[in-house]
Amino acid sequence: MTGTSFIFWIVALLTVGSAAGVVFSKNLIYSAISLLFCLLGVAGLYVFLWADFIAVTQILIYVGGILVLIIFGIMLTHRITNVRLSHSSIQQGVGGAIVLAIFAGLSAMILDAPWYLSSAEEPTETVREIGRMLMVDYLLPFEVASILLLAALMGAALLSRKVD
């Protein structure tokens, strides 16, 4: 086992482990913290996948944006004095069974499927290519995304406004 792959496995384990923490932890804050590590781990995986730009975006938007949003959400919906911030689960039995079944199916599929494979060199630069695609090939989605964000912004502001 090379060092790279050792690190990879660490990251992978971190990702999976903290993902489990997110869904199994009894404390909401712990869940949030686990999510942080999970997202970081995913970013790490991106690095291994030669997607440095995505990794950075992941950290910026996910960790810096979404996670903060989530923690704000927790804070706003729980009194800070409430130390435990415990939260419980329902239908774990049936849910677990179903999810396990699905996971089993997915695994079988993953190992079985003839994925589209093509060897490639590690790109020296990813940002330029991604930028070109966003500005040329995917210009329309890019613009639509802005409308979407505008709508979401409007909506979020509208909905979280105090009822007059």
């Binding site: 999976v16 993902a19 997110v22 949030a32 938007i61 959400g73 979401a152 909905l159 979280s160």
Partner: protein, 101 residues
């Protein structure tokens, strides 16, 4: 060298855990975290496929859009959860059940 399948399996695990979280968590915020896990699972897939499919940047672009959308969605969802909290005083999804008939 770690192969494609490893990433996919990791993705599948994240996906499954995400689903599990969404299904089982009572707290709305926690449910949202589950959703994020699912989206991340898909993203891992996209990036992994991009990497092993000849370094196709389409996958990267896709995952970028997913991240953006996740943010938008999270914002709206949290706004809604806050709203629920304001009116019901709880964020437990199963207690938001006035519509049950």
């Amino acid at each position: 060298m770690v192969g494609l399948n490893t990433y996919l399996i990791i993705g599948a695990i994240l996906f499954s855990l995400g689903m599990f979280g969404v299904i089982t968590r009572r707290n709305g915020v926690a449910v949202l975290m589950g959703v994020e896990l699912i989206l991340n699972a898909a993203n891992v897939n996209f990036v992994a496929f991009a990497r092993f499919g000849g370094m196709d940047f389409t996958g990267h672009v896709f995952s970028l859009f997913v991240i953006i959308l996740a943010a938008a969605e999270a914002a709206v969802a949290l706004a809604i959860i806050l709203n629920i909290f304001n009116s019901l005083g709880t964020v437990n999804i199963d207690e938001a059940n006035q519509l049950k008939q």
